[in-house]
Symmetry: D4
């Protein structure tokens, strides 16, 4: 609408359109005024500073490559999550730009060729309670770093050994983390414990580990939501992308 608006007003000033006609034009847009809204929205990635994410699961290699290319036209950074080895290889081979791929997270981060060098601003601490939570935690890390925020990680800390927490938490405090992501499955107690120990807000990230009653992340999600530790909010089971994005937004704001 931007360009046509200038021309529209030029036409009115030039007498090519009457004032009434000009008003009518804008008025007629009717739903098109929603289009303005859309223009802003199209640039959601730019506005929020959160890269677009291509959920690769269930998509063909061709689809993933094509969608990634299209996004890269608009955005300097794009994430592809839950990629197969084959999809990751195709992205590396067929899409221009820098590729970062951490097999644990199954995330590929594509940066447009020639994009401005990154400067990290703010930091997030990312903890994983157990080995089986590392993949989801790594997904959060990939998003955080793609948002040019530093990620300080401590995987496999476990609740069983609360003492193992003291070192990493001290390190994260010293790094001035603005937020923490804490991934945990099973009973999911770690985020509550951490939220009781640190000053920064904590994003609880339940993971789908565990079996039997409350398995596949259900007990973890429930426990985090029931927790009375202040400063703890959660995302859905296995949603490392979402946890990372929220934590990075917080950390970036805190670092301003």
């Amino acid at each position: 609408m931007d360009h046509s608006l200038d021309e529209l007003f030029a036409d009115v000033v030039a007498g090519r359109l009457s004032a009434a006609e000009g008003a009518e034009r804008v008025r007629r847009l009717g739903y098109a005024s929603v289009g303005d809204f859309a223009l802003l929205d199209v640039s959601r990635a730019a506005r929020k500073g959160v890269p677009e994410v291509v959920f690769a699961e269930g998509k063909t290699v061709e689809q993933v490559v094509a969608i990634t290319r299209r996004f890269l036209e608009h955005d300097p950074v794009v994430l592809c999550s839950r990629v197969t080895e084959e999809q990751a290889a195709a992205l590396a081979a067929e899409v221009d730009g820098a590729v970062e791929h951490d097999p644990r997270s199954r995330v590929v981060v594509m940066r447009r060729a020639g994009a401005a060098p990154r400067q990290e601003r703010g930091a997030v601490g990312v903890l994983a309670a157990g080995t089986s939570d590392v993949g989801v935690a790594a997904e959060a890390v990939a998003m955080i770093r793609a948002m040019d925020v530093a990620a300080i990680t401590a995987f496999d800390v476990g609740v069983a050994g609360l003492h193992r927490l003291s070192g990493p938490l001290q390190e994260m405090r010293e790094a001035g983390v603005g937020a923490l992501v804490v991934a945990a499955g099973m009973e999911g107690a770690l985020p509550s414990v951490v939220a009781g120990l640190v000053e920064a807000p904590v994003i609880g990230l339940p993971t789908s580990s565990g079996y039997g009653y409350g398995g596949r992340g259900e007990a973890a999600l429930m426990g985090m939501l029931q927790s009375c530790s202040p400063g703890l909010a959660v995302v859905n089971i296995d949603n490392g992308i979402g946890a990372g994005a929220t934590a990075a937004l917080i950390a970036r704001a805190a670092a301003r």
Copy 2:
């Protein structure tokens, strides 16, 4: 925005604003262009022909009266659902306009004083499987009639006596109903059966009758969603208002 748009263009034509300034004004609106959208939206009731509904449960008598009055300034008809006897009495005593109140439905329909006389267009058949489904079915009837669509009712038909269906269905066919609302609790089989017998679309309306496993409408909702009868769609448990509105929209369109 309408009025200011005319003035804006008048200002541009009159030279009080340059073309660039005019464009900038509109451009600056940014989110305000969402405001256009809002103007349309404010008139949702008029546009969709579905009256606004005041959910009275948990509101004070004063709140219900005040909200109803405010809506009546914009709309010729307003519904208050789940009203208590006290709320119904207050609406009748304190709000101007015609009041219709069916105690079974616990709905009060308020029509603005001096509103144009209604003309029914289209017809909906409303069936209730059992005595305990009548209240929810009556809620649908209240909405249908408030939308100036005829409602032909047959309550207490039951699945157990499928034969009891033939008379009402014949009557509804002859009345040319464009849609049916079929309320049922327990196992909720009636909507499926009806959808297999009539040509018109059926809105399944599960009710919260029944106890034990699948009680409180759960089995009814599930059964309707699992049904393979063609032309059956559902609303939520006890949502007579929603079922009536959808059926009346369909019937009105079919009667055009």
Copy 3:
């Protein structure tokens, strides 16, 4: 029964059957009087104008072919849903008639050889929120078109970019759609939004995308049922066939 009834009475009048024998014949029908009912029912497809559907999942190639052939003897159009590539190929090769197969929908539409040319009557708008909702939406489209109703589609509109809605909705309005099918997974918000913007009834079609708590369509179904947008009814998760049939019935009636 119609024909034999005339003959039966002719036989009685002609003395080929006594009155008692005639009464006995009808009486013996006993449940066969239910059979009258059945005769109507057998022609359900004709009566409702909704083609029979062969749910191919879990059936052998031979079974699918045989059942399809049998249905085609009675009905001019038959759908096979959730077909494999192999089943689709067999239908094309071994069943007489015209075959339409959209791999996204996994539906094969069989039209009897020599069936009367179709004339579209009425139109339905079909929207899909995301890429993963396209298959189910395409299933609805297949049914709509098999019912000789026009389908205007807009896939991948997304709630995130509400602006993307304005164009398709305008096009659908201009085409005079009598109903819309809106497919959405995840939180399933699109049908509510659309129902708030359009005049026509909306059939919400939750899809089994999404993972974690509320995944596999549960949050989408719940959200649509909880919605207070007027004119929104729903079908079960992934039931594109049912959504298409109901929407097409509505649209056809509205187009009369």
Copy 4:
């Protein structure tokens, strides 16, 4: 204990044991008196007239063969349910006796070589609502026939075509069925309908067909439990064996 009891008393009478010693022997049995109970119990199959069932799923071919052989030493008839093709072949090849195998039911019925010829007593009607319910219904049939009760079947009757019921029900009435098993998935309405039409008790057999909300038999089970049709009791989802056994027990008693 039976045999040793006679000997025990013979020993007492013969003076080989004193009265006190005899009493002590029985007294010492202590929990062994529970053993009496066990002796009866071991012959559960004989007592109840319900053959033992080997649930073959998850067992090796060798295990199935060995367990079946062991049961056949005590009982004239043994069922193996959910057998694979390979297990069925091994049973036929390696176990002595007559083999009946219906691939639809995945049940193998083994009759001991030289077992007395069967005489049917009583009859059960078995109905299946749809094609996907046939396997589970056939499991019930296998059990009924293994209990030497006649099974009269009508598969694929469907609720959509209630008229299709009249013929089979008439036939079953004429055969004097003492009970009916009615298998249905999806919304599971057929058992309710049948229980409203017949005099005999009906065993509702929900099957795990159907998808989405209420899928995998949940809606069917709920609907049957919510039904207010008199004379309807249910078994668990896909438990054709249990439905058949209960119905055959009823029919046998009614035929006495």
Copy 5:
């Protein structure tokens, strides 16, 4: 239809109706042939020998009295379940006929004044596991006796004291019970145990006792459905009426 059919054909033979008119008459019945079906259905109580039941919960005293009177016009026996003290008193005072009221069951059995003296045929054993299961078990007893079947009861037998079972079961065997109703809440194990000990079919009746996980009858229902005891079928939680009706039907058939 029977009588009018003879007359109809007599009219045709007599020339009072042409063959075409006769055929048209039958043809016109159309849905009326469903009406025949209805005539049978109206007499459901007579046909199945199961009295109609007025579910009194949520009904006014006047409604319960009125509905009961109407049913008594057609049927010699009517049950009112879940009655309040006030409803029970009104039924006794205002409805003609014999009243039986067991406060534990909250069931009132009304027998039409002058109804034929009852003769019991068949017998059902009714067991309740604990004190809190007695009310629901008594509901079953009320239905069984209203169906003129003997009920032999043993309440408070409990699983914890399996030994307490032996006396009652022996008594029931000697009375020749054709079926048993076994009510149990909590983990609901009693029906399984009983079904393993008796020859007759058992109707498991879960009751809504118990709290916490699996409380309100859920664990009881689940446990009964998971049981592998042969000859056990279940009804819904707290559905004593249904359990009694099914058991009485079985017992009556077995006693023939």
Copy 6:
């Protein structure tokens, strides 16, 4: 059986019964041998050392008094749980013996008049995470002490303040507790934490505190079951009686 057995054999030896008749007598006992079993079972309370419990909720004052009296004839100690104030007063006034009543636990412990003085053997530690868990924890304490096991309590320790644990745990260790009961609602993390710190087995006791998703004890139960702390087993939500009984059994054995 004991006495009659001696007489029976005496009769055989004396020739008053033949050997066959003696064997037949025992054989005929059949289910009566189950009666032996029952005799043991009747004395369950004595055998297991766990007092009988009268669940008072939903019972009348008269019923509670009567049942308690009956149990006291056999057992020296009886518990009444979930008593109202009125029931507690009636027990104190109308039942002979010593009464202990802790209003927090709503348990009344009745000791038979003249029962032997208690001697504590073994000790259990009982912890409650928060104020709302105290009632359920006190229920466990009442059972433990009724079993003559010492109970060392620490209520309101909370997970939020893990440090508050060290004192109580040290005290419990020094008292030589053989087991711990740890009551917690909300996310229920305390039992896991304690099980990781102490050597003795821990009985997790989820309480029905908490609201929203996972409320009413569901998250607490799930979390305890998902916990990987060794030596942690659980009872149902709010089952303080059960937790106390199990813990006291363990502690008593450990103290032997």
Copy 7:
């Protein structure tokens, strides 16, 4: 430990304790070193800057007053949530300090008499979708303001009228909010929509409004967790306190 440590070392230096004794003292602390931890923890409120909260539901007036007094000894600000009118009056009358009480939120904020004047730092935007969400949103506001963070509110914005959002969001942007709390029941779509429009992180706050399937906040929670809007994290249903605390922590950090 702080003070005694100085004295301990002084004693060692002064020779009142040997080095070995000093080491032993610290060593013996053993779990007491956990006590250090506790000392920090006791001051959790101070450390995190989140006031302690007394959950008043189910507590007596006396308990609420006593606990509040005790907390006020340590902390300058204490919240009491879910207070009754009576509890609120007692707090105002009997506890020293300034009282703030918003009846909508049912939260009382107690500030210690003579506490330092507050200075707001940072701002949070709080939105409520509907009238029934206001109470929970007001709970969040009470916490935010108790944390000396500004709260800018917009209640009753609704999703149905998305346009109503533009004004409040613009105001919040201009106020530089560091985070938003968005309360919504029913389908809970508002937080997703807002998170797509604003740069700041959003805390989704599901409320227990809504009935039927997905009612009582379940659909709202699910929908928020399924949302793919970046920067959205959630708290449990009706947990306004938790949402406010997390949002205020974020806003405070962003305002530094």
Copy 8:
């Protein structure tokens, strides 16, 4: 901390550190005092006498080998659960020490080369209800024996044949078992029955057998939690490791 503490005090005494510096050193440890806590915790296996468990599912062969080796450096015994054949072979080939592998349990027990010979102390009885429960029961046995506690097993006892219990229970009593583990799927009744018969505490171990409603262990878990048998506590579905560890802890204490 131990060693440095001695040195620290020596330094203070020696004047190498002032009293204030010494206090500061300890004070600075701050979170490091949590480290003390950790030192204890690191030796959790030693302290509790429960070996560490490597959950092998989802881990690579290399990971399982590496983690096992690391644990064996600290602990004399380590368990690997849910191992594949390949993982078991690698452990046997590549890790030093004695290997015990029971394919039914899928557990490998590794004992450090040269570890002290084991001496059994205490005994646990382990029962499995059916064939499909044996694997999980065997997992418990592996843990019990790894804890040097005797395990007396009776698999396939079943509830259907309660008599089969008497022998094994007698044997277990005679062996002086201090606790029992009872594994059961389906309706999971066996643990309740056993807890009613034995004096020792029972750990209920639900297994994920069973299908349909309540399948995969849900009914078993619920039933055990609902049981009112005294002395029964449960672990999660299929958690043989946890059941074994708790039972062995109890038995060991009882054997002291």
